[in-house]
């Protein structure tokens, strides 16, 4: 596995944000649609508040393996990144 040098090795197990810069490249594109006012509306909610516990979740990853919080967290926890899409 090749990782950018700025990721501390201690974060590796939980560094699911490592590919955030790569994903940026796949989004923020709206060329296929006309601009609509709602497209640039700021968030009405940024979800779970600081200090609250995240809900349990379970979903397949890119290899089809079902993952939950226990399977992605590292010793310090995890960075959970929500992105619009990997195909835009």
């Amino acid at each position: 596995m090749t990782l950018p040098s700025w990721i501390p090795s201690s974060l590796l197990p939980s560094a699911i944000w490592a590919f955030l810069p790569l994903l940026l490249s796949a989004q923020a594109q709206q060329g296929r649609f006309q601009n609509e006012p709602w497209m640039t509306a700021p968030p009405t909610s940024t979800g779970i508040a600081v200090g609250q516990k995240i809900p349990p979740f379970k979903a397949p990853d890119q290899s089809g393996q079902v993952r939950d919080f226990n399977s992605i967290r590292g010793p310090k926890g995890a960075a959970i990144v929500f992105n619009r899409s990997a195909d835009w």
Binding site: T2, P4, S5, W6, I7, P8, A15, W17, A18, F19, L20, P21, L24, S25, A26, Q27, A28, Q29, Q30, G31, F33, W38, M39, T40, P43, T44, S45, T46, G47, I48, V50, G51, Q52, K53, I54, P55, A59, P60, D61, Q62, S63, R67, S71, I72, R73, G74, P75, K76, G77, A78, A79, I80, V81, F82, N83, R84, S85, A86, D87, W88
Partner: protein, 262 residues
């Protein structure tokens, strides 16, 4: 990372970009809703229906949210090194510029050397003052405070500079108490690269984005205040275009109306 994509889309994307860390498929937006980040502005019949507001939750090992990072504009994103810097105080691997000026040493860098449109990065300036030397914090009255200032440009948007908490210093010579910085301290400023096509001419040319600014300060020790100084600052970043490559048409998202909704 969680998106409203199918596992097939994520498989194609991660293979193309050589990503091995987990990307989770939430095509019915169930996790997105459970976290409370469904983009409610998208009309239910639109292809984008089900996308989240993009953002990052930093969660401890018990699943409790420690902090979160969201932007107002969907096309703007915090870059991972900016989040690492905020959470852990350090980020390695980018080019640094060292300035040894009169009365202080300055190391400055950007958390990213390569940017894309809409990306938010952090400019960092680490200072080291010799013993007994101080500079004045921004809230000082009647003295020249340290000031980190970027030149305005259509190519980027600068947030306010962030200064650390000042030390309170008593100066016996003038019997005054003043807010100062001494020893080691850090000033940061977030910058978001322009979105849309603003950076296109730069990408089409050398791909170099220059951010310029200056640092103004007055250094004093326990006896003397020296003349105010202004140091020029410059960061040169490489700009890359957004990746517009798509997954094969057969596995692309279909509008909810065409699939009976989701």
């Amino acid at each position: 990372m969680i998106t409203y994509d199918s596992a097939e889309i994520l498989a194609d994307f991660s293979k193309r970009r050589n990503i091995t860390l987990p990307l989770l498929a939430d095509p019915k937006s169930e996790i997105i809703r459970a976290f409370g980040v469904l983009n409610t502005s998208v009309p239910p019949t639109h292809l984008w229906y089900g996308v989240p507001y993009p953002g990052t939750f930093i969660v401890d090992q018990n699943g409790v949210v420690k902090s979160k990072y969201f932007e107002d504009l969907y096309s703007e994103r915090y870059s991972a090194p900016t989040i690492l810097l905020r959470e852990f105080g350090s980020v390695a691997g980018t080019r640094q510029t060292t300035v040894r000026a009169d009365h202080l040493e300055l190391n400055y860098y950007s958390t990213r050397d390569v940017v894309r449109p809409g990306l938010r990065l952090t400019l960092v300036a680490d200072f080291q003052l010799p013993p007994k030397m101080h500079v004045y914090a921004p809230e000082v009255k009647n003295y020249i405070p340290i000031r980190f200032e970027l030149d305005p440009s259509p190519n980027y948007k600068a947030a306010a500079a962030e200064y650390p908490k000042a030390d309170i210093l008593f100066l016996p010579a003038i019997k005054e108490t003043v807010p100062v910085y001494q020893g080691k301290f850090r000033v940061t400023q977030d910058v978001t690269a322009a979105g849309g096509n603003v950076l296109q001419p730069i990408i089409a040319a050398k791909g170099e984005l220059k951010i310029t600014g200056k640092l103004r300060y007055q250094a004093c020790d326990d006896k003397i205040c020296y003349l105010p100084e202004t140091l020029p600052l410059e960061w040169t970043l490489k700009v890359e275009p957004l990746d517009r490559e798509r997954v094969p048409e057969a596995i692309q998202h279909k509008p909810p109306a065409a699939t009976g909704g989701s």
